[in-house]
């Protein structure tokens, strides 16, 4: 009974130590070093985009205390992720925590290695924000992002890596990019060197739907098209200012974030059905999604 606290304390420190076998120090900016972690045993690493200020002479401090050089593979400012390739092999790949294993209220540790030694802070999962596809899986926590923790890992009570911590995406809150989005972005960066995102060519704002229609189609709002760029996929597909977009390729669009997440790289070059409200009538257009440059 009296050792429950000791058990908890040991479990937390064990979780830090286990995940720490994959957590590295990343020196790629003038100020203090940051953190990152191993993606593949043959030298791929992930870190935060905003801590990679210089692309030359990136140095990695490995968990065993040794140093190695790394090159930038690609970066995505939207999710604050960067992929590095280090000149080393035989690295320890973390055990990943899948998104559905993470619940609001769970204990989680932010773990970094900015000084070369492991450092950790403790908090709980405050909120989860999950898009219908893998483009936007974030966890918000109340962990303290100690200096140099960006690019480090959010670690579960069992020592699994929940995602990559960043202090740059949202002021005053600690955000973690969870494993589905990590995989999605890393795979795209490895394949294309950049993040491919679909392009429609519209400016939008959320708009509440008329009550009768909302009840009929089971959705409260859509996005109102405020502008259409000339020569854009939207213009070519016949979208007009004043149209309200309700769905893209069967995916419900209730706000701007839904629209962004519906335009993932996978749909580039494809002709998709776009459901709109025009003059009180629901219509469907076929639009070929472009690529954002």
């Amino acid at each position: 009974m009296s050792d429950i606290l000791q058990t908890l304390s040991d479990a937390l420190a064990d979780a830090v130590q286990q995940a720490g076998r994959s957590i590295v120090r990343v020196e790629a900016r003038r100020r203090m070093p940051a953190s990152g972690f191993v993606w593949s045993a043959d030298g791929l690493m992930v870190t935060a985009h905003h801590v990679v200020e210089h692309e030359e002479n990136i140095r990695i401090g490995l968990p065993d205390g040794s140093q190695t050089k790394a090159a930038l593979v690609g970066r995505d400012p939207n999710t604050d992720l960067a992929v590095l390739r280090a000149e080393s092999g035989g690295l320890t790949v973390p055990v990943w925590a899948e998104a559905d294993a993470v619940r609001v209220g769970h204990l989680a540790l932010a773990v970094g290695r900015p000084s070369g030694q492991l450092q950790a802070t403790l908090g709980v999962i405050s909120a989860l924000s999950h898009s219908p596809n893998e483009t936007h899986f974030f966890a918000q926590t109340d962990v303290v992002m100690y200096p140099g923790f960006s690019g480090g890992a959010l670690v579960s009570a069992s020592g699994q890596i929940i995602g990559l911590n960043t202090s740059a995406l949202m002021r005053g809150a600690s955000l973690t990019v969870q494993t589905p989005t990590l995989r999605f972005v890393v795979e795209s960066l490895l394949r294309h060197g950049r993040m491919r995102r679909g392009y429609l060519g519209v400016g939008v704002q959320p708009a509440r739907l008329p009550k009768a229609l909302a009840e009929q189609i089971g959705q409260k709002s859509g996005v109102l098209v405020m502008s259409v760029e000339p020569e854009s996929p939207a213009e070519r597909g016949g979208l007009f200012m004043g149209d309200t977009i309700l769905a893209v390729d069967g995916q419900t669009i209730e706000n701007g974030e839904d629209l962004v997440s519906s335009l993932g790289g996978g749909r580039i070059g494809q002709s998709v059905a776009v459901r709109i409200l025009r003059g009180g009538q629901v219509q469907e257009l076929q639009i070929t999604i472009g690529e954002r440059g």
């Binding site: 830090v16 203090m32 450092q119």
Partner: protein, 204 residues
């Protein structure tokens, strides 16, 4: 899921805190109260140098409310440590832990009098320990600290930081942000007492 687990956890926390609070004192220095920790039953109390700096008429208030005049018997400004002596015997001392074995992520609690709230407890985990911590590493090279992920406030100074078993691992000393505090590792405190007081009052 298992409500008993959280209940046990809470009960254990409270039991541990109660033991620690018994050896916690207030140090009344004329402008407010700092905290101190009873090190030896014959009245040896450890606190921060900045809690007693330049003050006369120091008093120590024990957890039971007894108020005793105190004398500074050792003082080190750079280390921010001081030892006080009060006329007493059989005082409840704090159990000592091993600050050389501190692990990042381990559970810790700090006890003190934040904003004058007597014996208040805050808990969190060890961020890291040693001489290479980002915020303090440059201030005094080579000096060792324990960085703590917990809510530290004025009035915690001089109070104990304990591990999950209630053993002293450090003395609260400094706040660098609302959620980050620094403690002086207990092995540094031991060395300070040994150097300044010899071993006669060190039956630890």
């Amino acid at each position: 899921m298992d409500n008993n687990l959280l209940q046990q956890f809470n009960d254990t926390l409270a039991d541990t805190v109660e033991r620690v609070q018994a050896s916690l004192v207030q140090i009344v220095n004329g402008r407010g109260a700092g905290a101190g920790t009873i090190w030896h039953p014959d009245g040896l109390i450890v606190t921060n140098a900045h809690v007693v700096r330049g003050r006369h008429g120091l008093h120590v208030v024990l957890s039971g409310g007894q108020r005793l005049p105190a004398a500074v018997i050792a003082y080190d400004e750079p280390l921010d440590l001081a030892a006080l002596s009060v006329e007493a015997a059989g005082l409840p001392t704090i159990a000592l832990g091993d600050s050389r074995q501190v692990r990042p992520g381990q559970w810790v609690m700090a006890v003190g009098h934040p904003w004058g709230v007597i014996g208040a407890v805050t808990s969190g985990v060890v961020i890291g320990a040693g001489a290479q911590l980002p915020e303090v590493g440059q201030m005094q090279p080579g000096r060792e600290w324990i960085a703590l992920d917990l809510h530290m406030r004025p009035g915690h100074s001089g109070g104990p930081v304990v591990d999950s078993a209630g053993r002293l691992i450090g003395i609260n000393t400094m706040i660098t942000g609302p959620d980050v505090g620094f403690a002086i590792p207990v092995h540094v405190v031991k060395a300070f007492l040994k150097e300044r007081l010899g071993t006669q009052k060190m039956a630890v």
